[in-house]
């Protein structure tokens, strides 16, 4: 329905998008209700995403990456998949987020050792930052990494780790200094098999229930000193830079969810006939369709603006936050309206048999993770003030 063409800079990206769109509809859509209902991580979808190269999109090209335009590619793939199954699209996002620290800051040796393992060995990555007492406030983490000879010893508890129970590699943020503040934490690459690493329980969530969210515990986990990503103390900086990439991706997810809901309304409008007058004349439906379409197009503009800036390695923080904030709020409104619209048309919007109620639950998460939309507003304001100086 919506044409992304004007936002897609190359022929390669266009072909890529069309292929993902087709496969998402044929292969991923049919399992969306089931993974939601049964709350399970679908290994078959994971395999499919590996086959398509979607779990290494942001890797360097020689390790299976997309290359030029990778951020737009990631957003396009996330968007197309989120139209039919938000849970499946989240896997792409978290893979990109989790592997960012090593791709951005890992030493040559570290990359040569781990990136092939991850891409050929098909290892998922989880991003272990959030802790029970540190959500939006990353600097509040308690996990510690203490240097001992050639190793660091890691201790701490992480929560809400997407793919936490299914990952083979973890990017772990831990304090390397007792000091408070931004320069006190660092990222480490930790393998699943490391003694002392254990997986807690899987969380039961409101939405995106086909994604795996767990606690992860680190108890005297020893990692080689070379697994430190970048230098000691620049963990916070890496996390911030990671956000520039993850937020447009979340925004793309929100956009996809919104489009999925919009398509569901359209389909209903076309299918339902009333003897008196066409359903599209119904003022309630008109308002919902028009408002949704406006929000979708505006979201798209922000998502791809942020993505293109990121690909061009320009400052993209403000647009990343704007995209995430706007598209998340839009997705929430559109999915809620879709439930209403289908309710008005058929009386069934609220029922589990229909996809829109899942999209409504899935949509809520986009307002929360990778920085709540309240935090996005702080970030946007800060960037605006910085730019105006």
């Amino acid at each position: 329905m919506f044409d992304q063409t004007s936002f897609i800079p190359t022929e390669k990206l266009k072909t890529f998008r069309d292929r993902i769109q087709r496969i998402a509809r044929d292969k991923i859509a049919p399992q969306a209700s089931l993974v939601d209902e049964e709350e399970f991580f679908n290994r078959e979808v994971e395999s499919l995403l590996w086959d398509l190269g979607l779990l290494t999109l942001t890797f360097p090209e020689k390790y299976g990456g997309f290359g030029k335009g990778r951020m737009v590619a990631l957003c396009l793939a996330v968007e197309e998949i989120a139209k039919v199954c938000a849970s499946s699209s989240l896997l792409l996002i978290i893979q990109a987020v989790g592997s960012f620290p090593i791709i951005d800051r890992g030493s040559k040796e570290l990359k040569e050792r781990y990136l092939p393992q991850m891409s050929q060995g098909r290892k998922l990555v989880a991003y272990l930052v959030t802790e029970p007492t540190a959500g939006s406030d990353i600097s509040g983490i308690q996990s510690m990494a203490v240097r001992e000879g050639d190793e660091y010893i890691l201790n701490g508890s992480k929560c809400f780790a997407t793919s936490g129970g299914v990952a083979g590699i973890y990017s772990v943020l831990a304090k390397t200094s007792e000091k408070e503040g931004k320069g006190s934490s660092s990222f480490f690459l930790v393998e699943r098999e490391s003694p002392g690493l254990s997986i807690g329980r899987a969380e039961s969530k409101l939405g995106q229930r086909g994604s795996n969210t767990t606690e992860v515990f680190l108890e005297n986990v020893r990692v080689p000193a070379g697994n430190l990503l970048g230098r000691e103390g620049n963990g916070f900086l890496i996390a911030m830079k990671d956000f520039d990439m993850s937020r447009p991706a979340i925004a793309a997810q929100a956009l996809g969810i919104a489009e999925g809901a919009f398509e569901a309304i359209l389909q209903f409008v076309k299918e339902r006939h009333t003897p008196q007058r066409p359903i599209a004349d119904h003022p309630a439906i008109q308002a919902i369709l028009a408002d949704s379409a406006i929000l979708i197009e505006a979201s798209r503009g922000l998502v791809y603006r942020a993505a293109i800036l990121n690909d061009e390695r320009k400052q993209s923080t403000k647009f990343a936050s704007m995209a995430k904030c706007f598209a998340g709020d839009a997705a929430m409104k559109i999915t809620a309206d879709a439930v209403d619209a289908i309710q008005v048309l058929s009386g069934y919007g609220f029922l589990r048999d229909f996809q829109v109620e899942r999209m409504f639950r899935d949509g809520k998460l986009t307002q929360i993770f990778e920085g709540t939309n309240q935090i996005q507003r702080l970030v946007i304001t800060r960037q605006i003030l910085k730019e105006s100086m």
Binding site: T133, E203, S204, A336, V344, L351, Q374
Partner: protein, 382 residues
């Protein structure tokens, strides 16, 4: 203006106690299992608050609509599904109270007196009619000593569990709205066929059923009032039901705000509790203001209902339902937002409240329909 009288104070005190001890602890399980809350029925019946609107003349307590709303609100703070149980009972009772003659009242309403666990329901909606209730026909034909009803009903509240139901059907289609009649139908009447219960996003501890009426035999004396009384009977009942839904939504929203507040006061980020952050204070302020306005509008509508100011009730009921359920949706969604990742998890009650809130925007007529009702009434278009 809305100071509680002594009776209200005592009732609410005991309701709060029951909610705290018996209803709140079961709310999460009820949502998860999606089963009908027989345990809650028993508790409410035992405490004589399952049918508080039942008239004194029929052996009931007969509280005012405002008091009933307060009870619903109090229960909805902890469990929207449990509060819907009361609303379902009221929806089954009121059509009989409004329209039935004495023998019919005596026959059915007497069964709801103190301690009774008799369940009732209302079948107003038909498939593909949705909120436009009378666009598809369930028809009733008089055959000597009984009526024969044919058609299909969906979203029959308590459908599969009710001991008796009120159903609307056309006795004369040519008369349009004036050809609609209301009937009391008992479980076990031949031809009342249960199809299935719905699987829903929220208010999962309630039963909404699809039912088929296959030459359903209803004794002639089970007609409520006279033939053709059904439409006005239904409008009154639906108006009342909208006021109750508004009360439920206000309670639900209050429950979510309470959870979010207690979390915001505990949760420390950036060196202080998040309640200290202006962004959170703004959200809290909007949530509280939304709830208070919803509550006042609800009481206003309840007051009009008690005064039987029918010419105003429809519009005020629609406004109360619209404002309160929209507030509930926003407040519960914001409560999840304030609680962040925790709010999104099923271990905490706010995600359930958010799903429940969506229901309040939908049943008793979608909010889109509420706007049509209000707009048409104010514009003088019938």
């Amino acid at each position: 203006m809305f100071q509680l009288d002594e009776e209200q104070r005592l009732i609410l005190q005991s309701v709060r106690e029951i909610v705290r001890k018996e209803i709140e602890p079961r709310a999460a399980d009820l949502d998860r299992s999606g089963e009908f809350p027989l345990g809650v029925v028993r508790i409410l019946a035992k405490n004589d608050i399952l049918n508080p609107l039942l008239p004194r003349a029929c052996g009931g307590v007969e509280v005012s609509t405002s008091t009933f709303c307060m009870i619903v609100e109090e229960i909805a703070k902890a469990c929207a599904s449990a509060s819907l149980l009361l609303i379902g009972q009221a929806e089954g009772t009121l059509p009989i109270v409004y329209g039935a003659d004495e023998p019919l009242k005596e026959k059915y309403l007497r069964r709801l007196t103190a301690g009774s666990e008799v369940l009732i329901g209302l079948g107003a909606v038909e498939p593909s009619a949705g909120t436009g209730i009378f666009s598809l026909p369930t028809h009733a034909e008089l055959r000597g000593s009984h009526y024969s009803l044919g058609g299909e009903k969906c979203f029959v509240k308590n459908g599969s569990v009710a001991d008796f139901l009120v159903l609307y059907a056309y006795t004369d289609r040519s008369k349009g709205n004036l050809g609609v009649s209301a009937f009391v139908v008992e479980k076990g009447f031949p031809g009342l066929v249960f199809k299935r219960d719905e699987d829903k996003t929220g208010t999962r501890g309630t039963v909404y059923s699809e039912m088929l009426l296959e030459n359903l035999r209803v004794p002639r004396e089970n007609l409520i009032g006279r033939e053709g009384d059904g439409f006005s009977n239904m409008l009154k009942t639906l108006s009342a039901s909208r006021v109750f839904t508004a009360a439920q939504a206000a309670g639900l929203a209050q429950g979510a705000l309470d959870e979010a507040l207690s979390y915001a006061r505990r949760r420390v980020q950036f060196g202080k509790t998040i309640a200290h952050h202006p962004a959170i204070q703004f959200m809290i302020a909007e949530m509280a203001a939304g709830i208070e306005s919803a509550r006042l509008l609800t009481y206003e509508a309840a007051f009009l209902l008690d005064q039987e100011k029918w010419e105003k009730v429809g519009t005020y009921a629609a406004m109360a339902k619209l404002v309160a359920s929209d507030a509930a949706m926003k407040v519960t969604s914001d409560a999840v937002q304030i609680m962040g990742g925790y709010g999104y998890m099923r271990d905490y009650p706010v995600e359930r409240m958010m799903r429940d809130a969506k229901a309040t925007q939908i049943y008793a007529g979608t909010n889109q329909i509420m706007k049509l009702i209000i707009g048409r009434d104010l514009a003088g278009i019938s």
